[in-house]
């Protein structure tokens, strides 16, 4: 922990203050500027009727578009207090709210749930932030407004039409450390009725960073072969290459009668290595350790905005084929496959939603969503049946093929009987296969204490049904699993103040208290495989807080910042596994008690300097929170990134250059035990945005 890590944001603020006095020079005509009007950039404080009592975090669009190489996992790491668990650079990244698990986070894209029905969770490293125009977080019971099962919360991702007239083009090319290349292009066209856009993005990286491996030692010897000393070697991240391609097509059409039609299709093709552990002595060059994914997400929508009604209908299809291959060189150049797992997911989705504004201060909302999943999961590494068994000698794969129908119905009434008070009552009911959930009630409250300060509170139940792997995976799936169930309370204050075209500040803090029963944990069996069981009872509670603001120092200078802090005890109160169980009353594995992040940006005309910082407290790797261990500690770490941007206003083109320095203090750290992370690294980007209107 070095003091220098805290100095940079302070320096930026001082620099801004120094320049604000002398910044009364003339406006730099015709030059693009990062200094934006406060009114447009500000987030409106007063909640719409539909968001009464909701604990919601809207991510700033500038954060989403900071660099083309960042995934949504990177954005959430630095712009929220939720825990992002990264298994390495460009590796699996999951997010969890309020001391819960990754499978307790529901994720929607343009209104369609995109959690894997096999695993229950979402890999945020596979979602490029440039493919997301709007991102928001619904904390705790607020997630019930969009879906059930979000015991921790929900992440809502969406695309949005540009208000283009004619052609638009935006192209970015990036190059970075570890032989990394990133590219992005968006071509759009629009008129008063149509908005069309095509996006493409790609990442290619050897991802072969080096690091000092404190998990191994090498020895030095004298001429007689006697050891003379030892050292920790410089190792290379092995088997970690990345090749991702994303394509997206969007079409929007609107009528004069208030109807809007939309089509969004997003195709992802990814082949990534799974990096070896830092304690693995196998030669990376002798192994293939690859995961591949091809995913198509398709959503068609219609919505209608009337005087009293908002109607919305959607249909979607999600197709994913995934593979994992683990093979080794036999020594003669041929690869022997040891694992060849394949899975195929097809999900068909339909949803309808209606909001009826029955009176000025009363809205009634109803939702109905349905998902039909078809999943086939198998290890193609065919095995021979035992001799003498029926079909002996025949090769057969191990796996399962199952389908499940899920539907969710939601009805709510939102009422604002006075200017200061808002009340929302809702009921959600879910069907999973043949299981009908108990009624899931939600009650939300808003109370405007002053013109700037709002009190929010909510209480709800929630349920999460086991994933298809939980139920059917072979070997180990447990069809007798019960759904995880939770009760959640939260209350908080939200503050908002704006001085138009000068500054805006928004802050919130909330307390939450959740009880989750039948928490599913995979545990080993005596036959060498793992099986899920309803094991834990968890009390997750704590505080989440966030502050953000913008300060326009002058016409040429602007300072913005945001900060997040969360205290998230997540305590195991289950029955002891046996008399020696020391895990009761302890923090859950890989849930930090504290997390924090901050961003700051200082803009001067066409220059902008952005700073990102995050911190996680220790994540325990054992359920008894063993601190005496020398081998199982994942220590707290700070991460500091910086981006310097410069825009150029050319005659018919806007051009910007960016330099990003990640991990600027070259911190050696792990996010997950024995998964190496890179030290200081660099990226440069060039972005070209032609102006076809000139």
């Amino acid at each position: 922990m070095r003091p220098a890590k805290f100095i940079l944001p302070v320096l930026m603020a001082m620099l801004a203050a120094t320049h604000s006095a002398g910044a009364q020079n003339e406006w730099w005509n015709n030059d693009p500027s990062y200094v934006t009007p406060i009114e447009e950039a500000a987030v409106v404080a007063r909640r719409p009727l539909g968001e009464i009592g909701q604990q919601k975090t809207e991510l700033d669009s500038a954060a989403l578009k900071l660099t083309v190489s960042q995934s949504m996992a990177d954005v959430l790491t630095f712009n929220s207090s939720i825990f992002v668990k990264q298994y390495g650079r460009g590796s699996l990244s999951t997010v969890s709210f309020r001391g819960t698990a990754a499978s307790h986070t529901q994720v929607t894209w343009n209104g369609m749930k995109i959690n894997s029905p096999m695993l229950g969770m979402t890999d945020f490293s596979m979602i490029p932030s440039f493919f997301t125009d709007k991102a928001s977080l619904l904390h705790g019971s607020s997630s019930l407004a969009v879906a059930g099962g979000g015991l921790g919360g929900a992440v809502l991702l969406a695309t949005a039409p540009e208000q283009a007239r004619g052609w638009q083009l935006d192209a970015v090319l990036g190059a970075g450390s570890f032989s990394t290349w990133d590219g992005f292009i968006k071509l759009g066209w629009g008129n008063s009725r149509w908005q069309l856009a095509t996006r493409a993005a790609g990442t290619l990286s050897k991802n072969d960073f080096t690091y000092r491996n404190y998990k191994k030692k090498e020895y030095t010897y004298d001429a007689a072969g006697i050891p003379t000393g030892s050292y920790y070697p410089i190792d290379t991240n092995r088997c970690g290459s990345i090749r991702d391609v994303h394509l997206m097509q969007e079409a929007y059409y609107k009528t004069d009668a208030g109807d809007r039609l939309s089509l969004n299709a997003w195709w992802t093709s990814s082949v990534r290595g799974v990096p070896l552990l830092s304690v693995d002595y196998r030669q990376g060059s002798s192994y293939t350790n690859l995961q591949s994914e091809n995913t198509l997400r398709l959503v068609c929508g219609w919505n209608h905005t009337g005087q009293k009604w908002l109607l919305d209908a959607k249909a979607g299809w999600l197709h994913t084929s995934q593979g994992y291959d683990f093979a080794r060189d036999k020594g003669n150049g041929t690869m022997a496959k040891m694992i060849e797992s394949r899975s195929l997911i097809n999900t068909f989705h339909a949803a309808a939603q209606a909001k009826w504004f029955a009176a000025d201060h009363l809205m009634v909302e109803a939702q109905l969503a349905a998902y039909q999943h078809f999943v086939k999961s198998q290890d193609r590494n065919a095995i021979s049946r035992a001799a003498g068994d029926a079909g002996g000698g025949r090769k057969i794969a191990i796996g399962y093929e199952e389908g499940r129908f899920e539907s969710s119905a939601y009805i709510s009434a939102k009422w604002s009987p006075s200017r200061r008070l808002g009340i929302s009552a809702a009921i959600r009911e879910e069907l999973y296969g043949e299981s009908l959930s108990p009624i899931i009630p939600v009650l939300n409250l808003d109370w405007l204490l002053t013109n700037d300060l709002t009190l929010k509170a909510s209480v709800s139940r929630n349920f999460r049904y086991p994933s298809l792997n939980d139920l059917y995976f072979l070997p180990g799936g447990n069809p007798d699993l019960l759904p995880e169930s939770g009760i959640s309370y939260d209350a908080g204050l939200s503050y908002y103040k704006i001085r138009p075209d000068r500054w805006v500040i928004k802050a919130s803090a909330s307390w939450f208290d959740s009880y989750i029963d039948n928490w599913i944990v995979w545990i080993p069996t005596f036959k060498g495989y793992w099986t899920p069981r309803n094991v834990l009872q968890v009390h997750a509670y704590g505080i989440e807080s966030r502050a953000e603001g913008k300060y326009k120092l002058s016409r040429d200078w602007m300072l913005e910042g945001s900060g997040n802090f969360a205290w998230t005890p997540s305590i195991n109160h289950g029955d002891p596994a046996d008399w020696a169980d020391e895990a009761i009353g302890k923090q859950l594995v890989y849930v930090p008690r504290f997390s924090a992040s901050a961003t700051g940006a200082l803009a001067y005309r066409s220059w902008r300097l952005s700073y990102k910082w995050c911190w996680y407290s220790e994540r325990y790797t054992t359920s008894d929170n063993d601190m005496a261990t020398r081998i199982g500690r994942v220590l707290p770490y700070f991460m500091n990134d910086i981006v310097l941007e410069k825009k150029f206003g050319l005659r018919r083109t806007s051009l910007s250059l960016k330099l990003a320095v990640n991990n600027i203090f070259n911190e050696e750290y792990e996010s997950v035990l024995n998964r190496p992370m890179p030290g200081r690294n660099y990226e440069v980007f060039i972005e070209i945005t032609p102006d076809f209107s000139k």
Partner: protein, 338 residues
């Protein structure tokens, strides 16, 4: 505590007293395997002795340990490495790499040892002095699912049980390093020991429900190594999950875990009905028998994600004590007093 280099601790174990090494598997893909050392005479236990002595961790999934030539050979499965450690200081003195996923090491001679694997049908031949792989024993299984496990030597032959998605015992001529015979014993033979009469005993786990390889009741079989044939087979009830077959020091008694710990005379004609150590609020994960005293040591993994416990029982099943070890104590290795 900072992320970074560690200090090497100095140990000096009294080799005149026997000791027990506990191999704590850790969690798969966590890399938190560890080695504990217990002195039965003093009751003293030292945990993470490899990491403390060498200032780096043991690795991912500690599988087994064999003492040979005055060194302890620790097989770390998912790290693909075998460390040889000094038995008094726990310092690494040799290292063999190049494996796929090693399980056990068996010494045929001073310059030749066999190493079994999963995800690799070949048994690796290594030179433990030069620490290099010198060849392979081809087993005829396919690369995808072939696996080999424990090894027991009788005369010039080494017998190997093939566990994962397999059903046989291999007989290897240690002079030619070739498989000379195979014997089907049932689905997934998980362990093998030799009794006082020189007979081999193997336990099958029977696979699992839904396995395309098949599912059948677990068995315990006695094999005559001379004729390489099954002499008798005991079948367990379908609901049983017997495992961790081991034997007493004199080889006259067999032990295993099936919920509780069961004991059977090697000349018995029937499976025991009552356990010698019943399961009372404990999860028995691993088992070893003090070769001299006959005391029973049982590893308890608790919830599989915390420091485990080893329970020590008298030969007649009375609890004598317990000591804390590392995550998932899965195997043991006795060091005789010198």
């Amino acid at each position: 505590m900072e992320y970074g280099p560690r200090e090497e601790e100095t140990f000096s174990i009294d080799l005149a007293q026997k000791g027990l090494f506990v191999l704590n598997e850790g969690n798969y893909m966590y890399g938190n395997a560890s080695l504990s050392y217990y002195n039965p005479a003093s009751g003293e236990v030292q945990n993470e002795v490899f990491a403390r002595s060498n200032a780096f961790p043991l690795g991912d999934v500690a599988q087994s340990m064999t003492i040979h030539g005055g060194l302890g050979w620790v097989v770390v499965n998912n790290s693909g490495v075998i460390f040889a450690i000094d038995l008094a200081s726990f310092r690494e003195v040799r290292r063999i790499t190049g494996f796929t996923a090693p399980r056990y090491i068996h010494f045929v001679s001073e310059r030749k040892a066999y190493v079994t694997q999963i995800w690799d049908p070949r048994i690796y031949i290594v030179d433990p002095v030069e620490c290099r792989i010198t060849g392979y024993i081809e087993t005829g299984m396919d690369f995808e699912t072939g696996s080999t496990e424990m090894m027991v030597q009788t005369g010039g032959y080494v017998y190997v049980n093939c566990w994962s998605y397999q059903n046989c015992i291999l007989k290897i001529d240690s002079s030619t390093d070739a498989v000379v015979a195979r014997l089907e014993v049932g689905i997934q033979p998980s362990a093998m020991v030799k009794d006082a009469a020189g007979k081999l005993w193997t336990m099958t786990d029977g696979g699992y429900e839904g396995s395309p390889y098949g599912w059948e009741p677990a068995t315990l079989s006695r094999i005559d190594p001379e004729t390489f044939s099954i002499e008798k087979t005991f079948r367990f009830p379908a609901s049983s999950q017997p495992r961790m077959l081991t034997s007493s020091g004199d080889g006259k008694t067999l032990y295993w875990i099936n919920g509780g710990v069961y004991r059977m005379d090697s000349s018995s004609d029937a499976l025991p009905v009552e356990p010698v150590v019943a399961q009372h609020g404990t999860i028995f994960y691993s088992l070893t028998i003090d070769p001299l005293s006959g005391e029973i040591y049982i590893g308890d993994a608790i919830d599989y994600t915390q420091s485990g416990v080893v329970l020590r029982y008298s030969p007649d099943g009375q609890l004598l004590g317990s000591f804390d070890v590392g995550v998932n104590p899965g195997n043991f290795c006795w060091r005789a007093a010198q």
